[in-house]
């Protein structure tokens, strides 16, 4: 019991003065990507991350996912970054993450169902429950009828739904999403935003969500993390408090629009210092 309560108190993700740099290959000046990032992400929170292009949003996400290793990628880190009190690599080994990339990255030789089932094959989990779980996530993201289709036969929006389903099938405690809906049209994106919120209400994963869209950032977030240009520091963390569960009406509400405007102002302030 004591262990349990201790576990309960550990935040999902904890950055403490976390810095990250790529040293120059010739041993010269290094490229500082992140500097002194401090942020505590609670369990079940949705944090959206915005910032100028090339500011290190993706690097931040990859660092959390344990995709950057000091040996292979030659990154130098300072400060600390813990996931449930563990190193990112240990958390990755314990399969706490699911990562969705900017592209859907569906394997062209597998149909939708086989793509969504890939993580289960990798984890070698028991076969009988797998089919049921795949069915469940496929219908959850609304592509239950397209499970036999090949990736090349479905639209970009459908591909991103499959991408999301493949992440959800891993039953991750932390969902790391790198501009997953960036290449979709606005209507499709909004629809998928609401789907994601609905799924979040059911599964309650902790979500880090990188985006370029201010409106998407506000709609999804419990908190919006605004990064400065490189080397990125936390410029501001804005808590999003909307009166109730977001719906389509939220998008035209004054609270929502006010928050979008406020974030835009923070951004504009960033630009004026250039």
């Amino acid at each position: 019991m004591l262990l349990d309560t201790q576990e309960q108190n550990v935040p999902a993700i904890n950055f403490r003065r976390f810095s990250l740099a790529y040293p120059n290959s010739k041993g010269g000046l290094s490229l500082q990507v992140l500097r002194d990032v401090s942020l505590t992400v609670q369990r079940g929170e949705i944090i959206t991350i915005i910032g100028p292009s090339g500011c290190g949003k993706t690097t931040l996400l990859r660092a959390v996912a344990g995709l950057l290793t000091p040996e292979d990628d030659k990154v130098v880190c300072e400060g600390s970054l813990e996931v449930f009190g563990m190193s990112p690599w240990e958390a990755k080994r314990q399969r706490m993450f699911a990562f969705t990339f900017q592209n859907p990255v569906l394997l062209p030789w597998r149909n939708v169902r086989q793509n969504v089932g890939l993580p289960l094959e990798i984890m070698n989990s028991g076969k009988r429950k797998d089919a049921q779980l795949i069915d469940e996530v496929l219908s959850m993201v609304g592509i239950g009828d397209f499970d036999k289709a090949m990736p090349s036969e479905i639209s970009g929006g459908m591909q991103q739904r499959a991408n999301l389903a493949r992440a959800l099938v891993q039953e991750p405690r932390i969902l790391l999403m790198d501009e997953p809906f960036g290449s979709l049209d606005e209507v499709t994106r909004e629809r998928l935003n609401f789907e994601l919120l609905r799924i979040h209400r059911i599964r309650k994963p902790t979500i880090l969500f990188v985006t370029h869209s201010l409106s998407e950032a506000v709609l999804l977030a419990d908190r919006v993390l605004i990064l400065s240009k490189r080397p990125s520091t936390v410029r501001e963390v804005i808590t999003v408090e909307l009166p109730q569960e977001p719906t389509e009406e939220t998008l035209i509400s004054s609270e929502y629009l006010g928050l979008v405007r406020r974030i835009r102002e923070v951004f504009a302030g960033e630009d004026s210092t250039v």
Binding site: F99, F101, N103, L118, I122
Partner: protein, 252 residues
């Protein structure tokens, strides 16, 4: 079907032109036989020709399989060890610049007049496209796909079999299509250097006897064999790699 119509019409035009040129300029048969002389011969001596063709087909197929298997194994080794690739790859490529025609007589000296030297020539010639393209295919993986497997903590062998191998298949088949026709060329070159059977032998003998019609028959049979090999692989490809647009092979 409609796509092959222009090719068929073109072919008919060439044959008509050929036939008329031979008759109009009364070209002797030992220099350029008319299609009307070649075709009956191709059809009439089917038993003997078929034996020669079968012999060459067997050598080509065996050499093709050996060369391809060896090429695939070497490519897998290269992907496994960068050091091995850096050490061996340049020589594998350098070996390709040695004309295959020059190696064939040496192989006859080493391995005699039988089937083995022909199989080796066919294997050597089909080996190169396979090793080059398979290595390229196994390496040419989308970086995000790698990250995807990494994020799922996939093992090295899972990455190999679930990602590298399927990604490489289109490249491999592009190479196999080329190699299958090269193997026929290799076997015939081997037969030129010393043989008592096969299409290469048949063409040589006909040449010594100045039986030009038979030479054309032999050449025609060789081409048909190559085309059959090519389409055999192409059909196999459709079943094994249905998801991919055809890639064209790197000849290295």
């Amino acid at each position: 079907m409609r796509r092959i119509v222009p090719a068929v019409i073109f072919m008919i035009c060439i044959v008509i032109l050929w036939e008329s040129v031979v008759h109009v300029f009364t070209i002797p048969e030992y220099l350029l036989p008319a299609p009307s002389a070649i075709l009956p011969r191709l059809l009439s001596m089917n038993a003997g020709l078929l034996t020669h063709t079968g012999y060459t087909a067997f050598e080509s197929a065996l050499g093709f399989i050996l060369g391809s298997v060896f090429g695939i194994l070497l490519a897998m080794l290269f992907v496994h060890s960068r050091t091995l690739e850096l050490g061996i790859y340049p020589y594998a490529i350098a070996l390709k610049t040695v004309p295959i025609v020059a190696i064939a007589p040496l192989l006859i000296v080493w391995f005699g007049n039988g089937i083995l030297p022909k199989v080796i020539v066919a294997a050597v010639i089909s080996f190169f496209p396979v090793v080059v393209n398979t290595t390229k295919g196994l390496r040419n993986i989308d970086a995000e796909a790698f990250d995807l497997f990494d994020s799922m903590s996939a093992t090295k062998s899972q990455v190999f079999f679930k990602l590298r191998v399927p990604s490489a298949l289109p490249y491999l088949f592009a190479a196999l299509r080329i190699s299958s026709t090269l193997a026929v060329i290799g076997a015939i070159v081997g037969e030129f250097s010393g043989a008592d059977r096969g299409l290469g032998f048949f063409i040589m003998i006909s040449s010594y006897r100045l039986e030009t019609v038979d030479m054309f028959v032999g050449i025609l049979a060789s081409s048909i064999l190559g085309i059959l090999f090519f389409y055999g692989i192409a059909i196999l490809e459709k079943f094994i790699v249905p998801w991919e647009q055809r890639l064209s092979a790197d000849m290295a």
